[in-house]
Every structure is written in structure tokens, then in C-alpha cells.
């Protein structure tokens, strides 16, 4: 364990798909407990970066250090067990299971695997669902949820892995104003319990309200870093988004 304050250090990370450079020499430091925003136009490499951090993709160059440990060689489930959880841009529920069972999977495979998968996972799953306002849907099949409920369930499932770092990949895409506030409140609440959060979002007002620090990616490179206020003023960011 390092005494380093940053929980996640992404150092010179590159990722190529054939001849296309999706990420070029990306450097990010995320401190423990931080609320970190990641923005950028479509195709700028946000999700690729998240996939490299969570293990869905392997980075071609550079290092990813989490809690003082180099993790870029580890498979995704090992990273989840070390404390990195994520939600997906397009929700990926375990659709043959109920909402509660969806949470039991990470509880059994992460939190309770030391106890031979025999812990009281149902009570714990229920507790997490209550925190998300999904308790009344516990026994509903996850294939029958509405969009906002799916988003909440994705976050709940990520939380069931007891993460130190939660990566929320466009958890608010397609939601109405009230629903955005609802999800935002949940993320604030989780952060208050000490969980570091990386938020990827297109809804600017949500990123601006939530983040303490924001990074803007464009064409696989970081073009700007700073407070939400300074980011929107940055000419590079304006150019990337508006093309002016």
C-alpha cells in the first residue's frame, strides 16, 4: 500500500484499435474521495479510457496504478475485487434475474468470497436497494425496469462490490430533469461515505454541479484540466465541442 494520496494514477496510457489511436499518452491522477468529471465530445475516448481502467480493454502502453498497485495486467474481475466498480453506458442487467439477485452476484463474488460465498447476501442487497430507493422493486425481474430504475440498479450493483472507486459511465443519459437530480443525489450520497467517483457525462449541468475537478478529452488526448468553472471558459474545450 502506498502512502500516496492519489487512489488512481493513469500514466502515459495509450490504446490503439488497428491504426486508430483511441488514447494517446493520457495522464490522470484521482485523489481519494474526489468527485472527478470526465467530459469530451462523442468518440473522444472517454469510454475507452474507462474500459482500460476497469479491465474490459487492455491498454497498449503506460501504467494504471490503483491504491499503489499496478493493475494494467489484471483481468476485470480482479480489478473489481480490488475496489474498482463501474456502471455501463448502456445498462447491462442480468436480465434473467430479479433486481435483488443482480446485487447478490457481486456480493457473493466480491464481498463474501472469503466466507465461501455463504454470507447473508440477501439482507445486504436489500440494504443497498433501500439506499437507492429501489427496495420495492427487489423481486421484480430486471428485464421489466424503467430506464431510470435500470440506471439506479446499475449503480446499486456496482455498490454491492464494495468499491473504493465508482466509475459512472453516463448514468444519466436519456433521463428527465427530475431523474437526473435523483441520480445525482445518489452519487453525492455515495461520495459522502468516502467513495471516490469518476463521472462521465454529456449532461454538462450535471458534471458542473457534481465535479470538483474536470478533465476534457478530445481525439484521445487531454486538452484541458481544471475546475468546472475554468473548463467551460477554456477556448480548447469550446472548440472541441462547438468546432469554432
Amino acid at each position: 500500500m502506498s502512502t500516496d494520496e492519489s487512489l488512481l494514477r493513469v500514466q502515459n496510457v495509450s490504446k490503439n484499435f488497428g491504426g486508430f489511436a483511441a488514447l494517446t499518452q493520457v495522464n490522470i491522477n484521482v485523489a481519494r474521495g474526489e468527485r472527478f468529471g470526465l467530459i469530451g465530445p462523442n468518440g473522444s475516448g472517454k469510454t475507452t479510457l474507462i474500459n482500460c481502467i476497469s479491465g474490459a480493454l487492455r491498454n497498449d502502453g503506460g501504467n494504471i496504478v490503483f491504491a499503489g498497485e499496478e493493475i494494467s495486467g489484471l483481468p476485470a474481475y480482479q480489478r473489481t475485487r480490488r475496489g474498482i466498480a463501474r456502471s455501463f453506458q448502456i445498462p447491462r442487467p442480468f436480465k434473467s434475474m430479479t433486481v435483488l439477485e443482480n446485487l447478490v452476484v457481486p456480493l457473493e463474488f466480491v464481498a463474501h468470497r472469503g466466507t465461501l460465498h455463504k454470507g447473508d447476501t440477501r439482507a445486504e442487497a436489500m440494504h443497498i436497494l433501500e439506499g437507492m430507493g429501489l427496495a420495492d422493486k427487489a423481486d421484480t425481474s430486471s428485464s421489466q425496469l424503467s430506464q431510470v430504475e435500470l440506471r439506479k440498479m446499475e449503480l446499486a450493483r456496482a455498490m454491492a462490490a464494495r468499491p473504493q472507486l465508482l466509475i459512472s459511465d453516463e448514468a444519466m443519459a436519456g433521463l428527465s430533469g427530475n431523474e437526473v437530480t435523483e441520480v445525482l443525489d445518489i452519487l453525492f450520497k455515495l461520495n459522502a461515505t468516502g467513495i471516490t467517483i469518476i463521472m462521465i457525462e454529456h449532461i454538462m449541468q450535471a458534471v458542473m454541479r457534481f465535479s470538483q475537478r474536470v478533465i476534457c478529452l478530445d481525439a484521445g488526448e487531454i486538452i484541458c484540466e481544471g475546475t468546472p468553472e475554468s473548463i467551460v471558459q477554456d477556448p480548447n474545450v469550446q472548440k472541441a465541442y462547438l468546432g469554432v
Binding site: Y77, F94, M97, F109
Partner: protein, 321 residues
């Protein structure tokens, strides 16, 4: 042990008891001959379902594992004259190792690619056996049955009881997997592999485990074929019909529950036997085909799915479960 486990084990003991009772009372040898085939399909369908049903990886190579089991038995008999128990154990071990090796080679391929790779394995193995003189090559090999063990009075009856034991073992294994954390992990893989991995499920390890268990059970039930027929030849041991039936039976019975493959195997296996005796054995394959189409179109969740739907509707109408 909870109440459900008790019910299951009492049921399993009852099945074994019935099998033994039949072995000592029923005189007609054909009954055991036919029942053996049905039990063999219970094992194959149950084994297939562990990987195909729970994890959603469709294996078209059941005949490869089954055939290898039969030929391991042949080798054991020819080389060291091993008893049946030892043949089964060896076949299970080789089937398991084969499952893991096939898994390592092919499990990174998803969907249709995995299925095609498993067909290839079956064809390669059949070709190897076809050209291997020691085990009889393409013409096959005649096996002399050893004298029957006490208290049985015929070898067919004994082998029928062995098949019943293997069927109970297979179903108990499938049931354990389904109800435990392993089954939940496999279901997560079937629903969404990437999300499963991100939920902490070691997807490759679980798939390899499923391959190993599935392959071991298929190999184990292949072993008694040599003694059952007193003759083994590659074309029948590696017959594609085993692959098709092992896939059709769980789909017809229902893949989500351990009872599904059992229902499918008993139903389809019995119908096949009846058709063989009363009409012609050629019609067998058509029966499987027609039933498969009917179920895939009309009841994709199989008989178990139909039952669940009916149950839910009744409960929804106010009836108590």
C-alpha cells in the same frame, strides 16, 4: 441440509431403489436395454445443460466427449483389462481434461464460433480413431463381456443400474451447480459476460469449470457403451445424433432448471425407443427435429417454462401457490 435438499435426495434414493427393484424383478431384457439408453440421455442432456443451459455456451461436440469415453474404456480393456468402475473413472478424467483443453482453446470465442469449434473437435477425434489400429480403426472392435458380478444375473441389468447411478450423480451435480454461487455466476455470464466480469465473476475460470464438469460427465457415460453393445465402432460412438439429442433434450425440457434436461431426456428418449420398436429407427431423428422446431417456436423456455407460466397465471388469478 434444507427441506428442498431432503426432498431431492429422497427422490434420488427412490429412483435408485426402483432401478434395483426392476433389476431383480423384471424378466424382459429389452426393458433394460431401452431404459439404459434413456438414462444415458439423462446424463448427456444434464451434462450439456451445465455449459449450454446455465452459461449459454452451445456445445455441438457432445459426441466427441461421449465417443472418447467409449474409446477410453476400449483402451483400458485392451491394455490392462480394467474393470467397469475403473473404465468409467478414467473416461471421466479424460473427459474433464478434454473439456478444460477445449475450453482453453475455444472459450475466448463467443456465440456461434464456440459452437463451430466444438463440431470440429468431434470430427477430428473421429478421424483419429478411424485411423488407429489398436482400438480397431474404422471397422470397430469386439469386446468380450466379463462374467457378471453378484448379485446381478445379467450384464445388461448391471450396466442399467450403473447408468442409473451415473444419472443420479449427474443430476445431483447439476442441481448443486444451479443452486450455488457457481450457478449464479454462470447465469450472469449467460446474461451479460462483460457485466459479469465487472461484478467480480471470474468468467474464464467458471466457464472452464463448467466445461470440465460437463466433459467429465459425458465421458463417464460414454465408458459403459463398450460393454453395453459388446462392440464399438467410431461411426456410432461419435455419431452426431448424440450431439443433437443432448442439445434438443434440455431445450425441450427447459434449460434454466436441472429438471429440464431430465424431463426432456425421459420424454424424447422414450418416444425414440417407442418409435424405433413400433415404426422404424430412421424416424427417430425426425421426431427429435420436429419436437425441437415445435418447442423453439412455441415454447422457447421448454416444458419447465410452460409450467412456470401456468403457475404464475394461476397465482395471478388469486390461487395460492
Amino acid at each position: 441440509m434444507n427441506e428442498r435438499s431432503w426432498t431431492f435426495w429422497v427422490g434420488a434414493a427412490a429412483v435408485l431403489g426402483l432401478a434395483l427393484l426392476a433389476a431383480f424383478t423384471v424378466k424382459n431384457e429389452y426393458f433394460f436395454f431401452a431404459a439404459y439408453v434413456v438414462l444415458q440421455f439423462v446424463v448427456l442432456a444434464t451434462a450439456w445443460n451445465i455449459l449450454g443451459g446455465y452459461a449459454g455456451y452451445v456445445n455441438f461436440g457432445t459426441s466427441a466427449f461421449f465417443g472418447v469415453g467409449a474409446y477410453i474404456a476400449v483402451m483400458m480393456i485392451k491394455a490392462v483389462n480394467a474393470p467397469l468402475g475403473l473404465q468409467i473413472l478414467a473416461a471421466a478424467a479424460v473427459g474433464g481434461v478434454m473439456g478444460v483443453s477445449c475450453g482453453l482453446l475455444t472459450l475466448r470465442l463467443r456465440g456461434i464460433f464456440f459452437s463451430i469449434a466444438t463440431v470440429a473437435v468431434a470430427i477430428i477425434l473421429e478421424t483419429v480413431i478411424n485411423n488407429w489400429r489398436f482400438v480397431g480403426g474404422a471397422t470397430g472392435v469386439q469386446i468380450l463381456r466379463p462374467p457378471v458380478m453378484e448379485p446381478f444375473d445379467s450384464y445388461t441389468k448391471m450396466i442399467f443400474v450403473v447408468a442409473a447411478l451415473l444419472a443420479i450423480l449427474a443430476v445431483a451435480t447439476a442441481r448443486y451447480i444451479q443452486t450455488s454461487w457457481i450457478g449464479r455466476g454462470l447465469r450472469a455470464i449467460r446474461d451479460n459476460e462483460e457485466a459479469a466480469e465487472c461484478a467480480g465473476v471470474p468468467t474464464l475460470k467458471l466457464k472452464l469449470l463448467a466445461c470440465a464438469v460437463s466433459g467429465a460427465l459425458m465421458g463417464a457415460i460414454g465408458a459403459p457403451l463398450a460393454m453395453y453393445q459388446s462392440f464399438v465402432e467410431p461411426a456410432s460412438a461419435f455419431n452426431l445424433n448424440y450431439s443433437v439429442s443432448a442439445l434438443a433434450m434440455p431445450i425441450i425440457g427447459g434449460t434454466s432448471h436441472w429438471i429440464g434436461p431430465v424431463i426432456g431426456a425421459v420424454l424424447l428418449g422414450s418416444v425414440q425407443q417407442i418409435v424405433t420398436v413400433t415404426i422404424t429407427s430412421e424416424l427417430n431423428v425426425m421426431v427429435v427435429g420436429v419436437l425441437l422446431v415445435v418447442f423453439v417456436v412455441g415454447a422457447p423456455d421448454g416444458i419447465v417454462g410452460l409450467f412456470n407460466k401456468y403457475w404464475k397465471r394461476r397465482r395471478g388469478a388469486g390461487g395460492k401457490p
